[in-house]
């Protein structure tokens, strides 16, 4: 089921007593949980496990107030079928229980039994997320999209970064002047400054292709920086070697091709040729052959245990650049 179902429950005020929410959008879940507690007029209580409330659920009190319990990833609910039956039956009485599952293992019995009733909170669509961001602070489309990108399209993270921007704007004494000067909103200026100084965290990107481009362009500092970033995201040395090898070979083929029809002569695709052309002239053909030899020597060294794969890329950079 999707979020629309919960919406319809709230609109018709027909809230089931036991609900299962799953998915990464915790912030959106929280909005719906608050709304549900308003609709059922119950006290919202976050509890650690079903065991904490089980005895109070069993002993009914006629004058007790309604509660909306929220439990995250409780193992008992997940595995105890008898308990699941009780929760779907009379155990909850007037109370409501929302069971949050961070991730759902589709192989489990629980999933098979409840797959039609689990409400999936999928990440918000970019267009909707952008609207939500712009509702919070006045950011132009481009900046809002950048914010979404650095927050990996997670609404919760977007809100946390928006909070940082708000704090910065509240304390930024000359933001209004800069905003006038650059004809931008204060929010936008604050966002750009926080992004530049690293207060808004930008996760490292898949740097492997940029790394290989930097090596083939003979950019020394950039190559070492990107190598660090590649290790940060856990890129495997063998993959780096493979991409470096293939791209170097393509540059060599394109650079040494004297015919007009490069694709026909080299057997490379149009995209590969276009990519290789960017690096033409940075190395002589002999140097490119040496890179190929070096990469292959390192690859062979790793396979036979002669080289440690963690040192190989630095070794290549030192020898090539």
């Amino acid at each position: 089921m999707d979020v629309a179902t919960v919406k319809s429950w709230i609109q018709t005020k027909q809230i089931p007593s036991f609900m299962i929410f799953s998915g990464p959008e915790w912030t959106v879940q929280k909005i719906y949980i608050n709304k549900i507690s308003e609709v059922v007029d119950g006290t919202l209580k976050y509890v650690d496990s079903i065991a904490d409330i089980y005895s109070s659920l069993r002993s009914r009190n006629l004058i007790a107030k309604k509660n909306v319990y929220v439990i995250r990833d409780d193992k008992d609910i997940l595995t105890n079928e008898k308990l699941q039956e009780q929760l779907n039956g009379e155990l909850l009485g007037n109370n409501t229980l929302i069971y949050l599952l961070t991730t759902v293992d589709k192989r489990t019995k629980f999933y098979k039994a409840y797959k039609d009733t689990i409400i999936d909170f999928e990440p918000l669509k970019p267009a909707i997320l952008k609207k939500y961001i712009q509702r919070e602070i006045e950011l132009p489309d481009k900046s809002a999209e950048k914010l979404m990108e650095v927050c990996e399209y997670d609404y919760g993270r977007c809100l946390l970064e928006i909070d940082k921007i708000r704090q910065y704007v509240a304390g930024g004494f000359n933001l209004s002047e800069q905003a006038q000067k650059f004809d931008k909103s204060r929010w936008n200026i604050a966002f750009e400054q926080l992004l530049a100084d690293g207060t808004i965290y930008q996760p490292p990107k898949d740097a492997i292709f940029d790394l290989v481009d930097a090596i083939l362009d003979r950019k020394v500092n950039e190559s070492f920086n990107l190598l660090g970033q590649s290790y940060e995201v856990g890129e495997a040395t063998m993959v780096m070697l493979s991409v470096l090898y293939n791209n170097t070979k393509a540059v060599l083929q394109v650079q040494s091709c004297e015919e007009r029809d490069v694709a026909k002569n080299t057997g490379l695709s149009g995209w590969q040729i276009m990519n290789a052309r960017k690096h033409i002239g940075k190395y002589r053909n002999g140097e490119l052959v040496n890179i190929l030899r070096l990469v292959r020597e390192c690859e062979k060294g790793i396979k036979i245990g002669q080289y440690e794969d963690s040192d190989v890329m630095e070794y290549i950079l030192v020898n090539v650049l």
Binding site: C257, E259, N265, T266, L292, R296, E299, K300, I304
Partner: protein, 270 residues
């Protein structure tokens, strides 16, 4: 089963509780296991479907419950995971009664030192020309002399004979390699890498086997040297032989081997 008489005799008289059979791809390791299952008719042979750790553990669990002699055969274990090898090590340290284990490998270096020390290592014997001919006749009764001359010059085991006789035309293959020898130093640097488009450099690709290609290249160079007495062919043989030995390294990039071989041969010949 063709050939391997000594090995069959040894293993049929007494099968060790843990046997490691080592031999090249196509040398008949799996066929030898099947032959052993035929010879040891009183034993139950289980050919495991894969070499995953769960399969190994399942076999070990069963091994402790056996009441009749059972052989568990794990074939092509070169890429077996570390966990699976360790699981196998545990059971082979003290094999349960009535349980026998056979693993086949292309290279002994692809298994654990400890596992090696616990097993009886058997190497597949090289095949004689007559044995290979017997096999070639069995799969292609119409094989003619010129074709056989070529097959025996480049193939070392039945698996390779099968590839050459059944899967592609060996005469056409020889002509292709001959063309490579003629043009490898004349083609442009960008064009020459297209040779590898005709070779099987990855499992999912189609084309000629790289090992057979190198052996045929050596054969063509040898033949040409006998006629032309040009020393460049001897250099070609030297370079190709060194690359041929690299192909036995597990997981080596065949594309990389091929590219560097092209560059090296051109360097020698140009």
């Amino acid at each position: 089963m063709i050939g391997q008489k000594t090995l069959i005799e040894t293993l049929s008289s007494c099968l060790p509780q843990f046997t490691i059979i080592v031999g090249d791809k196509g040398s008949g390791k799996k066929t030898l296991c099947q032959e052993l299952s035929r010879i040891h008719g009183d034993m139950i042979f289980c050919f495991e479907p894969d070499n995953k750790v769960d399969t190994v553990r399942q076999a070990i669990t069963e091994a402790y419950k056996n009441t009749s002699p059972t052989v568990y055969a794990f074939t092509d274990t070169d890429n077996m995971s570390g966990n699976a090898k360790n699981a196998l090590l545990k059971v082979t340290e003290e094999p349960p009664n009535n349980s026998y284990f056979i693993v086949t490998l292309e290279s002994l270096s692809n298994t654990l030192e400890t596992l090696r020390s616990r097993g009886t290592v058997c190497y597949m014997n090289p095949y004689t020309e007559n044995e290979l001919y017997e096999y070639a006749i069995s799969i292609d009764p119409d094989i003619y002399d010129t074709k056989w001359e070529l097959v025996k010059s480049i193939c070392e085991n039945p698996g390779e004979v099968k590839d050459v006789v059944i899967d592609f035309d060996v005469i056409e293959f020889y002509e292709f390699v001959d063309k490579v020898v003629s043009y490898i130093d004349k083609a442009s640097g960008s064009n020459v890498f297209k040779i590898s488009m005709n070779l099987k450099l990855k499992d999912e690709m189609e084309g000629y086997d790289l090992k057979l290609f190198f052996r045929t290249f050596i054969l063509v160079c040898k033949n040409r040297y006998e006629v032309e007495k040009d020393i460049k062919y001897l250099h070609g043989i030297q370079v190709t032989s060194s690359y041929l030995s690299e192909l036995s390294i597990t997981g080596i990039s065949k594309q990389g081997v091929m590219d560097l071989w092209i560059l090296d041969v051109r360097k020698e010949w140009m």
